[in-house]
Symmetry: C2
Amino acid sequence: MATICGLSIREYCEKAEQFHGGHLAPGMVIAGFMVELARRNIPEGTLFEVICETASCIPDAVQILTPCTIGNQWMKIIDVGRYAMTFYDKYTGEGVRVNLDAEKMKDYPAIAEWHLKLKPKREQDTEALISAILEAGEDILAACRIQVTPEFLGKRQKTVGICPVCKESFRSSEGTICPACKNSVLPYVSAPAKAESGR
Amino acid sequence: MATICGLSIREYCEKAEQFHGGHLAPGMVIAGFMVELARRNIPEGTLFEVICETASCIPDAVQILTPCTIGNQWMKIIDVGRYAMTFYDKYTGEGVRVNLDAEKMKDYPAIAEWHLKLKPKREQDTEALISAILEAGEDILAACRIQVTPEFLGKRQKTVGICPVCKESFRSSEGTICPACKNSVLPYVSAPAKAESGR
């Protein structure tokens, strides 16, 4: 009987549904198999970190099944839109990359139709899709050894300071004005009003 | 007795420690109070989404205490290095931004010393720091009403395709070659070797 990082498939699906906002996304089921495959290819006891190549679904499977989270920064997202994740030794950079294999997916038309958006969403049979994903398991995945570059492994030095514009503290490697004030990257309309902070 | 989204402080700290990799980071405790303050300022029943202004700690508190995760993309990170989060109505964009207030933090020297890295890490008394954070609670936070821009609220259309270079499927709004192949943004040394995928 297949397991996902020591959990039964059912246990994993329940956890995935609960953490991911109350809905069992098909991508979360695939991502569970990806994490299991990646972990099996990392030697027991390795202190590993993770790179996700998309923000969609797979970071949640990593966060449920490993100690790596976005907030502790043992998991990083470099969003290039590919359904792939890399687990690597945090000291040596040796690791394994697991991805959804477009060629292998052809053997499972229901999965390909969903993933490649070949069918309108309203025509999709989610139950049949989840069944196909459970049947496929690791058959639609590929794995290869990978070496993460030394520059990526080192900790980047960041300064901490108070921004002279917004008066807030910030951490950055980009100078004395915080990136929010310098680059106006936040999607806020200006002139914020004070909210109630008292209990 | 103060609570954090319906949990006792102790219950929250246990969850935070477990999710965040087995260590109760001081930033996770502050972030718990931030989520509580933000949620109190959003009308009950609002379907909300979250923007975190740093990847450090606070996204994990959001993921523990709300249905918003990085993988379901109801939480987004725009990393400008500021210790701040915005909760907003996903349809109207009306929301509240909560941040660590550098001015108010001056009343709690142990917190300021830690947050602004004024003291070498080895000289820090983590237990005293956590106590100071629990004592301060929301006193070191500021909250203001904010309006998220309409452009940010809409779903960005992404195409799904097979990249002609890597032969993998990808989702992007950037054309027919995947961003990984086009921009070489991934920190991998080339020439990957096949890993074992069989059980």
